[in-house]
Amino acid sequence: MNRLRAWFLAPSWAVMLALFLAPLAIILAYSFLTRGTYGGISLPWTTESYQRLADPIYLTILWRSFWIAGVSTVFCLMLGFPLALFISRSGKRKDLYLSLVMLPFWTSFLVRTYAWMFLLRDTGLINTLLEKLGLIHGPMPLLYNDGAVILGLVYGYLPFMVLPLYATLERLDRNLLEASADLGARPWATLMHVMVPLCASGIRAGAILVFIPCLGAYLTPDLLGGGKSVMIGNLIQNQFTTARDWPFGSAVSLALMAVVMLLLAALVRRNDEGLL
């Protein structure tokens, strides 16, 4: 039995090794090299790229990325929890509502980001409507700022928060909530002291599934932030294209990976359900 399974795993091993792990190993190596005269890499080995990370410019970008990702995650939690609650109580229509939540997500991230460009720009739908209604006199700069990026990220990753929350809420024993009410707790108290703690694993899962992609976001800050809202992802892309400073770009990438791994190590508990 074991030999067949080993053969079945071989192709995946090959792909992961050659097309995922090896490339990561290469940029790990690159992060310790120097930028070539015309871009790319050259000797000598140095830790200079990592030292540059401490520069305030880059720390600002790091901080902004954390802030945007954090705010987006919190919004997703606040918006997603009631929605997950609603679906978990909807009885027969659960599957329908879940599909409705997931459907937008699977229809092209690019298109969904573009949709907000369409809505938020100066001559976009929202400004046009507000002007027509006489509520404002000139276009509001809704696009190309941190807020637009957060909106785009929340829109993009809300389903990732709703699903794990729904999973834990669905397994919640209704009797516990009734017991809480029976013992004299008001709805808000039951929510905060019983429901939320019991959903801790779902909240953790949702937070991880939202925060990490948001931290490493590229497309959303690029299209909706328009260069004014530079996040780590934009910085990395920039280093590998325009600036052609591969060592530094690699260092930033690895720093990002390190942060992601630390977060996972801190937040994922052994008894949380795995996907694989």
Binding site: L19, D95, L100, F109, Y114, F118, I212, S253, M257
Partner: protein, 255 residues
């Protein structure tokens, strides 16, 4: 807890509108005769423009070919992998698959670019369709494994033992018992891999060659320059197409 009932329903409605309205509006304005955000009559001119644009058509073909090849390969490899991981531990491989899911796309993209450029010192190859396809296979496998694995978990482990007991060897047990039972999950995984591949921008833009422009890359370029109703039209087509595929995928996944 019943008191939250109406308020919760109203909120849910608002949330669903939030999720779906932007796309619906986008699609609605793809039929706008004018290129401005003022409705000036129903028209299909943007669809016509989209379907006649040679750059768009070439890019669409590229996307289709890349997605088709990457899907077939990653589904086969991923299904075999999920089966191999079923009831058997392979911590390093599982770890790598997890890692490929949490690694930001930009990092995966640039690492592949660096990898390819390094390889190109030894082989006389360039960036092109093949580099994109390989990249897509790489990031799609984890998705396939997850979906197929979820399906495998619902399969009674004793079915294979029964097959072996009745005279089937390991390969026959997989082929005649397990594979047919998980087939809906495999197809669902394939549809998922297809949409993920077709829609990818970040990684593709970094490893595509000059002649392997994909549809997302063209859309991005146009969108970067500002809003263009042709993008609305293409978007509407993509949304409908993907939406349909995903609905089928969901049906199959839970059959």
């Amino acid at each position: 807890m019943k008191r939250g009932g109406v308020g919760l329903s109203v909120y849910a409605l608002a949330a669903f509108l939030f999720l779906h309205l932007p796309l619906l509006i986008l699609a609605a304005f793809s039929f706008n005769a004018s290129r401005f955000t003022v409705w000036q009559g129903f028209s299909l001119r943007w669809y016509a423009a989209a379907l006649q644009d040679s750059q768009l058509i070439d890019a669409s073909w590229n996307s289709l070919i890349i997605a088709a090849v990457a899907t077939v390969v990653s589904t086969i490899i991923g299904t075999l992998c999920a089966y191999g991981l079923w009831k058997r531990r392979a911590p390093v491989l599982t770890g790598s698959l997890y890692l490929s899911l949490v690694t930001p796309e930009i990092v995966t993209g640039i690492s592949l670019l660096a990898f390819y450029q390094w390889i190109f010192r030894f082989l006389r190859v360039q960036l092109g369709m093949h580099t994109v396809i390989l990249a897509h296979i790489s990031f799609s496998i984890a998705y396939v494994v997850i979906v197929v694995m979820a399906r495998l978990r619902t399969v009674d482990a004793q079915l294979e033992e029964a097959a072996l007991d009745l005279g089937a060897n390991e390969w026959q047990a997989f082929r005649y018992v397990t594979l047919p039972v998980i087939l809906p999950g495999v197809i669902a995984a394939a549809l998922l891999a297809f949409t993920v591949s077709f829609d990818d921008y970040v990684i593709t833009s970094l490893v595509a060659g000059v002649d392997s422009e994909t549809l997302p890359m063209v859309i991005y370029a146009i969108a970067r320059r500002g809003v263009n109703p042709v993008v609305n039209a293409i978007s509407a087509l993509i949304v409908v197409g993907f939406g349909g595929l995903i609905l089928i995928s969901e049906r199959l996944r839970t059959r």
